[in-house]
Symmetry: C3
Amino acid sequence: MSRIHDRLEALRIQLPEAPKPVAAYVPSVQAGQLVYVSGQIPISDGSILAMGPVPSKTPVEQAIAAARQCGINALAVLNDHLEGDLDRISRIVRLGIFVASDPGFTDQPLVANGASELMLEVFGEAGRHARAAVGSVALPLDAAVEVELIVEVD
Amino acid sequence: MSRIHDRLEALRIQLPEAPKPVAAYVPSVQAGQLVYVSGQIPISDGSILAMGPVPSKTPVEQAIAAARQCGINALAVLNDHLEGDLDRISRIVRLGIFVASDPGFTDQPLVANGASELMLEVFGEAGRHARAAVGSVALPLDAAVEVELIVEVD
Amino acid sequence: MSRIHDRLEALRIQLPEAPKPVAAYVPSVQAGQLVYVSGQIPISDGSILAMGPVPSKTPVEQAIAAARQCGINALAVLNDHLEGDLDRISRIVRLGIFVASDPGFTDQPLVANGASELMLEVFGEAGRHARAAVGSVALPLDAAVEVELIVEVD
C-alpha cells in the first residue's frame, strides 16, 4: 500500500526505469535527510523528447511537456533511491530548472511549471517547493530542459 | 527590539511586501535549519528595475542595483517566512546569482556584488556567504539578474 | 598520516594555495555537516587555464583539463576549511558545473567529467556525487568552466 504510488496511478503516470547518468556521477546522493537528484533531461524510451532552444527549435508547449518528463525521471531516480518507498518523501524542497533558450526568450517560468505542477499533483502540500528557473545557452545532449531537485525524506 | 530590523532602518532599507511567485512554486521552503529562497528578480513597486542582458540592454551599474534589489526581495521573503524575526538567521549560506549576459560579458562577479554586499551590510559576519555567479542567456520576465539563496536559521 | 593527502600525492596532485574570492564573498561556508564551496574557476599560478566558450575559443580537451583544475582549486578551499584534514570529508554530495558554451555545444557532460573524475580518483566511493552540468553564455573572468560543490563532513 503506497499513497504516492496510488497517486501516480490515478494520474496515469508510469515511472520509467531510472535514467542512467550520462557521465561520471550518480543519480542521487543523500546527506542527512536531504536527497540530491542529479540534473535530469527529458529522456523517454531512450529518446529525448525535446531538443534545442526554446522557441526556435522547441515550441513552448513541447518544452513544458519536456519539463514534466524531467520531473517524472527524477521521481524514478527517487523511487530507486528509496527502494520503492516514495511515501518517505516529506517535502520537495527545491527545483533547479534550466531551459535552453534563444536570446530574448523569457518565459522560463512557464516552461518550468511543467515540472513544478507535476510535484504539486503527485505530492500535494508536500510538493510545494522553492525554485530557480533560468535560461541556458545550451544543455547536455541538446535537451531543451534540465531539472535537478532536492527532497527531504523521513 | 530587532537587531536586523534596526540595521535595515539604519541602512534606510525598507522591506517591500514579499514578491509573489510568478508561477507554480512557493517563495521559501525550510528543511531542517536551512531555508531555501526561490530565485528573486529585481521587482520593485510592481515593475522590473533592469531588463535585458548586460551590457547591451542593462548597463553594469544598473545591474548591480538590480542585484541589490533581488537581495532585498529575498530578505522580504525571509521576513515573511520567519514571521518578522530576521534575527533568527544565523548565517547566509549560499547565493546563486544569474546575470543575463551578452556573449563576451564576463563581469558577473561585479554585478553579483550588489546582492553580496547587501548581505554583508545587513548581517555583518553572519552575512559572509558562499556564492556561484554565472551568466545566463535570458532570464524570467526579461530580468537582468536573478538571485536565489540558502540561509541557516536557529 | 592522511589518507586523502596520501592519495593526492599518489595521483601527483599538488594542492595550490586556495584561490581568493574575486569579490564580496567567502570561499566556503559550513551549515551543519554540509560545506558549500563557492564557484571555482580554473586559475592556476595566477592565470586562467582556459578562457572563452567551448568549442570556438576553448577546445573540449582543454575544457576538460580546466574542469579538473576547478576541482583541484575546490579541494584547496576545502583543505583550508578543514585545516588540512581532508579525511573529514565523508561524501562529495553535489557538483554544479557551468560550461561556457557556444550555441549548439551540447557536450557539457564530457567537460564536467574533468571535475567529476577527479573526485572519484581522490575519494573513491565517497567521491560519487550528484551533479548538474549546464551551458552558460559567459562566465566570470571569461573562464571556460566554473565548478561549485557541496560536501558532507564528519
